[in-house]
Amino acid sequence: MSILHTVNKSPYEKNSLDSCLSLAKEGSAVLLIEDGVYAALKGAAKEPRMKEAAQKIKLYVLGPDLKARGMAEDRVIEGVEIVDYAGFVDLAATHDKVNAWL
């Protein structure tokens, strides 16, 4: 069973991303939304953790929330795929469950 995890807080504010990444099973997906998009920033402290996670988990970030925070798409860590809201809906539909790390 595959789960889509959504993380909506910056990893520099809360530890929900770390909890999520350490518990998410291989083959599942994590979508960064709202302030969660800060985890996708290239060169930031969380980059090594994100790259490590990308080995077994599919990582996505919500494009409109990047844009709302002035983060250009070329500043996103390689291996993190950018999706729009339609892509968010597709991810929710193609995984068996959606779990929000609130």
Binding site: T6, N8, I33, Y85, V89, A93, L102
Partner: protein, 130 residues
């Protein structure tokens, strides 16, 4: 596919209300069914028709009402959360001795059973909160 949406945060306080709206709209545009949108905790504040945001800002409450009208959405407000926060329909106003109601068009007040049912009936329950 059938989606159920849960909204736990009020408008203009946190992005959750915006994210939930954008997701719901995108799902409808893709031809999915929205079984129900359930407003819980501070999320019930999405349902007051007394808001008057500045004209150059989005009107979160009216936006929900319009989406509900266009797509015949079932938007349910948790009764216990609504009572605490002063979200009242005509029946609730009468029952609790209030002289006014303030529920926006397209919303209805009901119980937590509606969330449980949505979780069972929908293929996916997507939660938006703080």
């Amino acid at each position: 596919m059938k989606f159920a949406i849960q909204v736990n945060e009020g408008p203009y306080q946190h992005q959750a209300a915006d994210s939930a709206y954008q997701f719901t709209k995108a799902a409808l545009e893709k031809g999915h069914e929205i079984f129900r949108v359930f407003f819980y905790h501070d999320g019930v504040n999405n349902a007051t028709k007394l808001t008057t945001p500045p004209q150059d800002d989005r009107n979160i409450v009216n936006r929900w009402s319009e989406l509900a009208e266009q797509h015949n959405l079932d938007m349910v407000v948790c009764v216990a959360a609504a009572q605490r926060r002063g979200i009242v329909d005509e029946g609730e106003a009468k029952r609790n001795g209030k002289d006014a109601e303030n529920i926006a068009p397209g919303f209805r007040i009901s119980g937590l059973g509606q969330l449980v049912e949505a979780g069972i009936q929908a293929d996916r329950l997507v939660v938006f909160g703080d």
